[in-house]
Amino acid sequence: MTYQFDFSSLWAYWPEFLQGAWLTLQLSAVSTVLGFVLGTLCAIGRADGPPWVKFLVASYVEVIRNTPLLVQVFIVYFGIATLGIKVSANAAAVIALVVNVGAYTCEIVRAGLESVHKSQLEAADCLGLSKPQIYWHVIIRPAIERVYPALTSQYVLLMLASSITSQISAEELTAVANRIQSDTFRSFETYIVVGIIYLALSFVVRIGLWLFGLAVFVRKRKLGTAL
């Protein structure tokens, strides 16, 4: 069968593609920020918390890393509702994505924390810094700087994985694609266009995180060397 490609019928839908891409970016940005905070806190808890916290965090990380995001999304979405709390699909999507990326962030940041030498803590301790001050000034900042490339990759993957949330009615890029293709019956063309938009988005996310890194890691910007 010879298939007639026809991208022209998709042209009318560009505002919707744009809207979907925008929501994808928003979902990813919010999940990245919250997931980073959650993951970092968990990493600290796992490195320096009481045994029960360590156990809790370790279990959380293992469970999340060893089950598919798709299933996590369903459990969050329907689980929350079963508890009688109504949240919008976007909120459920963000919760699921944050829980998911938090676990990965935790593992990555933990590696960073472990790379900070014990003598650094002693030095800070001897200067009279309090524990939170030591964490903030001496441990977390260099730790994050060291693992920043790994975090960047993880957050690009998160952006791509957010396509799964279309299944619980979040109107992000993939959901928009599904709707457009059932309107136009141009599924192949639609998915090609969406694939290209995702490629562009991952480029945007990478650039964004790179710029953010430049702004935050002054030493790296000035010297260009890895810690």
Binding site: A123, C126, G128
Partner: protein, 242 residues
């Protein structure tokens, strides 16, 4: 002369390894004490105990009015009074020399940013590195890093400074730079305890030499004691150490 540091009968073991076996000595205000002895004799451990980096098993340690042996010791207030400099510098790699120095005053003493910067300029000048304020540790030589580390401690205006083999990672020329700074400090009246392998320096600067051997204070006296050792152990140590 009032004692700034006073160790009485301090015991400390790591597992079954008795590292400090009844150590006692005193250091008065403005004194410079040089602790010498073979590797493994417990010098670093003694220094770390003074700064409460290790807890002790027996005896008492008084440092600037703090009862270090006490379980209820307020470590942070002890550490405002005591500065320590390590062999491995331990500068914070992600901060410039100036930021390294400003950190503790602004975090601990809540000094304003501008004041902290002035303070940093001041102590950097004292160690002869005024123009390196904006450099990151990796951009500095070993001797310069060590001097920044000293400046970082000085910025907290401690009553007592501890130095643990601060020159042994340096080549002879860089060693000279650092020893000069320490000499200046001694001349300025700072109370100091230094663990060192530099006999010549100990002889020249120290008002008291403490010779440790197998976890005990074996001999103690003025710098001149190195020239006329009373025990065969010190004699052989001085002989070999030159």
């Amino acid at each position: 002369m009032s004692a700034v540091v006073k160790l009485s009968n301090v015991y400390k073991s790591f597992g079954t390894n008795k590292v400090l076996d009844g150590v006692s000595f005193e250091v008065g205000r403005g004194e410079v004490a040089a602790v010498i002895g073979q590797s493994g004799s417990g010098k670093s451990t003694a220094l770390r105990c003074i700064n409460a980096l290790e807890t002790i098993d027996g005896g008492t340690i008084d440092v600037c009015g703090h009862a270090v042996h006490d379980e209820k010791l307020d470590r942070r207030s002890l550490r405002r009074d005591v500065g320590i400099v390590f062999q491995s510098y331990n500068l914070f790699p992600h901060l410039t020399a100036e930021q390294n120095i400003m950190l503790a005053p602004s975090c601990v003493k809540k000094v304003s940013k501008a004041e902290a910067r002035d303070l940093a300029k001041d102590v950097l000048a004292r160690v002869g590195l005024a123009e390196k304020a904006g450099h990151y540790p990796e951009q500095l030589s070993g001797g310069q890093q060590q001097r920044v580390a000293i400046a970082r401690s000085l910025a907290m205006q401690p009553k007592l400074m501890l130095f643990d083999e601060v020159t042994s990672a340096l080549d002879p020329q860089l060693t000279g730079e650092v020893l000069k700074v320490m000499e200046d400090l001694a001349r300025g009246g700072m109370t100091m305890i230094l663990v060192t392998h530099e006999m010549a320096f100990a002889r020249k600067v120290a008002s008291q030499v403490v010779y440790m051997h197998k976890g005990k204070v074996w001999e103690t006296g003025p710098g001149a004691m190195l020239d006329s050792p009373r025990t065969p152990e010190l004699a052989s140590f001085v002989g070999s150490g030159l």
